[in-house]
């Protein structure tokens, strides 16, 4: 579905050359929920923007459904960390959600339907007529998610979407993403710096190294499909997985490509 091959991004400017991403290769299957986790400053956002066609990679290629990505592809939606800046304050919630749909060839009634459906999915039907700045942070991010849903993407890219909301809201939003993913069968690529979040959400976790970034490890999360904040987070398997990812991140920070580095899709042994 989504194929990232040999991706490299070097920023050049004012005499400084920063190699943000060195060589990244991974694949996301259709309908999969993959979490990308890595130490802070490891180029996660750069990677996601390259995947979303917002940045042009220096080398390597991103292909979506066998088509190379050279600009924002139609079947992709992006949810940004900075919901307050990503939603337009001059538009009401429903208008914000409808705007991207106007670029598609849809009738007005179909657009209305999609907006109403997306708002219902995130539980914000009553907020349609409000301005984003009249809502709390968590609600604003739900509006941003609703905007992405209404766009009916094949692939949803989420760039640390819950980094700026409080812990309780974050837990609710995580469950929302899990539910939407299961209901709608979208492919989701979710970037986070939070190890617990990555393990809780993902079907697979891709651990990135420190900058210049390569894939440190890919890990299958063999937790049951039904997850909830109360039980999943105290399950022994959850603890094992998060410990494993944590060790990998620590290794990545030290920059020692440990022998533990595996590029397989197998979960670590119990």
């Amino acid at each position: 579905m989504l194929d990232v091959r040999g991706l490299k991004k070097v920023y050049e400017g004012s005499g400084r050359r920063v190699e943000a991403v060195r060589d990244l290769t991974f694949t996301v299957e259709a309908g999969e929920l993959v979490c990308l986790v890595g130490p802070s400053g490891c180029g996660k956002t750069t990677l996601l923007k390259c995947v979303g066609g917002l940045l042009t990679p220096t080398a390597g290629q991103v292909t979506l459904a066998d088509r190379p990505v050279s600009g924002p592809p139609p079947g992709m939606a992006f949810v940004f960390q900075e919901y307050g800046r990503s939603l337009f304050p001059w538009m009401r919630v429903a208008e914000n959600i409808e705007l991207p749909l106007k670029q598609k060839d849809l009738t007005k009634s179909r657009r209305r339907e999609l907006v109403a459906d997306a708002l219902e999915s995130v539980g914000l039907t009553d907020a349609a007529g409000a301005y984003p700045w009249q809502l709390s942070g968590g609600m604003q991010q739900r509006v941003a998610i609703a905007r992405a849903l209404a766009y009916e993407p094949d692939v949803l890219l989420m760039d640390e979407p819950f980094a700026a909301v409080d812990a309780q809201t974050r837990a609710d939003l995580e469950d929302l993403v899990r539910r939407l993913w299961r209901e709608r069968g979208m492919t989701i690529l979710f970037v986070t710096h939070d190890i617990d979040e990555a393990v809780y959400l993902g079907e697979r976790v891709v651990v990135l190294s420190a900058s210049p970034t390569v894939v440190q490890e890919q890990l299958k999360v063999d937790l049951p499909d039904e997850r909830d904040q109360l039980h999943t987070r105290v399950a022994p398997r959850f603890a094992e997985l998060r410990t494993h990812v944590y060790e990998q991140i620590q290794a990545a920070k030290r920059g020692t490509p440990e022998d533990a580095v595996t590029k397989s899709d197998t979960p670590p042994p119990h």
């Binding site: 923007k49 979303g52 066609g53 917002l54 924002p72 139609p74 992709m76 939606a77 992006f78 940004f80 900075e82 800046r85 990503s86 337009f88 304050p89 001059w90 538009m91 705007l99 991207p100 106007k102 670029q103 301005y131 700045w133 009249q134 809502l135 709390s136 905007r147 766009y151």
Partner: protein
């Protein structure tokens, strides 16, 4: 609190008017040059009853409105174009910085040469003066576009025109509104200056005529009218601004979340 402020404002104005009445009556200044408030008021009453005054007022407002409309239209279009066409801003920056400080009144001889005392003369000066106010504010406004908002629009496949309309324009609007408010005030100043100096029909010309015919109270009455006009224009511009920018943090105030 609001009531107190209004009362204080009214008291201040009353005191000012009383002072204007008292100073000439006490002989501190010559009544011939500075008539007391009551005589200016009665001259104003006479003017209001005179058809010539209303047609002069109409002429001034026509020059002001047409000039302002041209300046705002041109300022916004040029500002947006200069900002979104690559390299154009860098290429035009020095020219703008050179042309902008030229006082509009320095163009009076040119205006007379080109158009005599026609309305076009007034328009030339009004447009030149107010255009820069709008242009500069538009240029600043366009620069203020949030990169996240821009990336959001791009990621959802919004083309150049859709991004100008839905992202760039609303972002620039608060700045443009400020530019329009400044331009509206400057346009009135230039309209009256042009009439006064060139002799194009309007309030300015009436002031000049009153002065040369020694009709001193009438002259002051017309000046008062010009002042009231400026006040009304500013109040009107602010009202428009508040309506158009109801979503902006400068207008919406604090919201309970």
């Amino acid at each position: 609190m609001r009531g107190t402020n209004a009362a204080l404002g009214a008291a201040g104005l009353a005191a000012f008017l009383a002072l204007g009445e008292a100073v000439p009556r006490l002989g501190l200044v010559k009544e011939a040059y500075f008539p007391p408030t009551s005589r200016i008021a009665s001259a104003l009453g006479d003017e209001l009853a005179d058809g010539g005054f209303w047609s002069a007022l109409g002429d001034t407002l026509t020059g002001w409105a047409i000039g302002l409309a041209i300046a705002v239209g041109a300022g916004v279009v040029v500002g947006v174009l200069v900002s979104i066409v690559p390299y154009l801003r860098e290429a035009t920056a020095s020219t703008i910085e050179f042309l902008r400080p030229i006082p509009s009144v320095a163009l009076i001889p040119l205006a007379v040469l080109l158009y005599g005392t026609e309305l076009k003369s007034v328009l030339l000066l009004v447009v030149y003066a107010s255009f820069w106010q709008v242009l500069i504010q538009t240029l600043y406004g366009v620069q203020d576009v949030d990169p996240v908002a821009e990336e959001t629009a791009r990621s959802y496949g919004l083309g150049t025109w859709a991004r100008v309309r839905h992202v760039l324009w609303p972002t620039a609007l608060p700045y443009v509104m400020t530019g329009v408010r400044l331009a509206a005030a400057v346009a009135l100043i230039l309209a009256i200056t042009a009439e006064l100096v060139i002799g194009a029909p309007g309030l300015g010309q009436e002031i000049a005529v009153a002065q040369t015919s020694q009709a001193v109270p009438e002259m002051y009455a017309l000046i008062v009218v010009a002042g009231l006009l400026g006040l009304l224009i500013n109040v009107g511009a602010r009202a428009v601004e508040r309506r158009a920018l109801a979503w902006h943090q400068s207008v919406r105030g604090e919201v309970a979340v």
